[in-house]
């Protein structure tokens, strides 16, 4: 699973034209993954949310952890191993905006 973080500061400076171009790059990137049979699933995440803690008694607006960029979306891909997942992620358009991409393995139930 790819977790996308950050890049928001750069994005706010974009012109509508650049936003459209950037969106089309993401579209093309994901289409490539889909065609290669790598793409499993993925969705964007909204900015706001709630954080529950303390036995669900404390509910705060979030996630706005200081200094940490929130996750803006995720994508599940199929890769042979971690190395393969890293390789696939290198062409992700998020790097254009100095965002980061975190890769986590989804654990399988039938080991």
């Amino acid at each position: 699973m790819y977790l996308f973080r950050g890049g928001d500061a750069r994005r706010l400076e974009q012109s509508p034209e650049e936003m459209q171009a950037h969106m089309q790059k993401w579209g093309a990137w994901m289409q490539d993954l889909a065609q290669a049979g790598t793409l499993v699933d993925g969705l964007p995440l909204g900015q706001g949310g709630k954080v529950l803690s303390n036995h669900a008694e404390t509910i705060t607006d979030g996630p706005f952890a200081e200094g940490v960029e929130v996750v803006g979306g995720y994508l599940i891909v199929q890769a042979k191993d971690m190395e393969g997942a890293v390789e696939i992620s290198k062409s992700c358009p998020i790097f254009e905006h100095e965002g980061t991409l975190e890769i986590r393995e989804i654990m399988s139930m039938d080991m």
């Binding site: 706010l12 012109s15 509508p16 034209e17 936003m19 459209q20 969106m23 579209g27």
Partner: protein, 408 residues
């Protein structure tokens, strides 16, 4: 596909920016312009992030509008720290029920607001690009060959004056419409010329300026109260010129004059639109400078080759044009045509008479040099070309003049 329609899809986000800024400013008022722009920008950002995953909503405009409107009300509520309920019912536009025609009307209202005759001409140009065209500051800077910081300041000042001057967003009626319409037509032509000017720099953004001018003029031409002979003449003129956009600069980035252009590379669709709008313009049976300018372009395009051009008719059109406004540059252009009809010697003498007005401009010397070259006076030509080269401002023109000197 109609290239004018293709342009709409290529620049969806940019056009949505203008469209939704117009509708929201119209319903919330010009005093909230900054917040409107921020809200639209943020909505587009959301659209970019959400739509990147492949699914685009059936009605992208309505999607962006809803997000932007929501954001705007949110901002205004927070700022006023009270229960801001949005604009009154009468002015809040239910976007979902707006017909494409009504959305076009909102954009036209915004165009009239940006081109308010009380604003400076430069402000009108900047506001139109920013608020209607959806160009960002740095795109405006690139298009008008300004520094980012300078463009930013100019746009800020223009917006300030806009908020102070323009309170109502509307399509004027009666005498005010005539005056405002002439201002709008002028601004559109200005935008087009900024894009069409042969200069170095980003050609794509220049082309976008021309495209935007065409889009605005098409909007005007579709509205029964706004369409008139001038709008059609402007469209005709711009389409004819746009047809040669690529032909006038070769693959090396060098200027190609009309005489040497490969006519088969002219965009035939634009040429057809040029003829269509010209025919529409003359139906009104009015004479005005734009019709003369369009008429000159018309003559260039009905000629099968440069040699076939009907120079006598073009000269006549220039004579009419000069009766409206006799600027030194128009006089100079007329004399280039005059030379084709009446010979180089007499034309050369007449060009020299323009010296007091044009002695600081490279075009004056370029014409003198060209005439002298054709008359076989190489030494004279060389002197004039060098003078022109000294005065020319941009690289494309300088390179052109250098190539002429090399050919002597």
């Amino acid at each position: 596909m109609d290239t004018r329609v293709k342009n709409q899809i290529d620049h969806l986000f940019r056009h949505e920016y203008g469209k939704i800024t117009a509708v929201l400013t119209s319903s919330f008022g010009t005093q909230h312009l900054e917040s409107v722009e921020d809200a639209v920008q943020e909505a587009l950002l959301k659209a970019m992030q959400a739509w990147a995953y492949g699914e685009t909503p059936n009605d992208p405009s309505a999607w962006i509008y809803k997000v932007a409107r929501h954001k705007l009300i949110d901002t205004l509520r927070k700022r006023q720290k009270l229960n801001y309920e949005g604009p009154s019912e009468q002015v809040d536009l239910p976007f979902d029920t707006l017909t494409p025609g009504e959305i076009e009307d909102e954009q036209l209202k915004m165009i009239f607001a940006c081109c308010n005759p009380k604003l400076h001409e430069r402000d009108r140009l900047l506001l139109s690009l920013k608020l209607i065209g959806g160009f960002s500051i740095s795109e405006i800077a690139r298009a008008l060959l300004l520094q980012d910081e300078a463009a930013k300041k100019s746009v800020m000042r223009a917006k300030k004056r806009f908020r102070e001057t323009v309170s109502k967003i509307e399509i004027p009626v009666g005498a005010a419409l005539v005056q405002s319409l002439s201002s709008v037509v002028k601004v559109i032509y200005l935008i087009f010329n900024e894009g069409y000017k042969a200069s170095d720099g980003d050609q794509l953004i220049k082309q976008d300026l021309c495209g935007e001018a065409l889009r605005l003029a098409v909007l005007l031409s579709r509205h029964p109260n706004c369409v008139n002979s001038r709008v059609h003449a402007l469209l005709s003129l711009m389409c004819f010129k746009a047809a040669r956009f690529d032909a006038r600069i070769n693959e090396k980035g060098a200027l190609v004059i009309l005489e040497e252009q490969d006519r088969s590379t002219w965009n035939q669709e634009y040429v057809r639109w040029g003829f269509y709008h010209f025919n529409q313009a003359i139906l009104f049976k009015e004479n005005h400078p734009l019709l003369m300018e369009a008429g000159i372009e018309y003559q260039y395009h009905i000629a099968r080759s440069f040699e076939d051009t009907d120079w006598a008719s073009i000269l006549e059109l220039y004579d009419h044009l000069l009766a409206y406004r006799a600027t030194p540059f128009l006089k100079l252009n007329r004399l280039v045509v005059y030379a084709k009809v009446n010979g180089l010697e007499t034309a050369l003498e007449k060009v020299k008479e323009l010296e007091p007005d044009l002695q600081k401009h490279h075009l004056y010397y370029a014409v003198l040099a060209d005439f002298n070259t054709k008359l076989g006076n190489k030494a004279q030509a060389s002197v004039h070309y060098k003078k022109a080269l000294d005065l020319a401002q941009n690289k494309i023109e300088k390179d052109f003049l250098k190539s002429k000197i090399a050919m002597l």
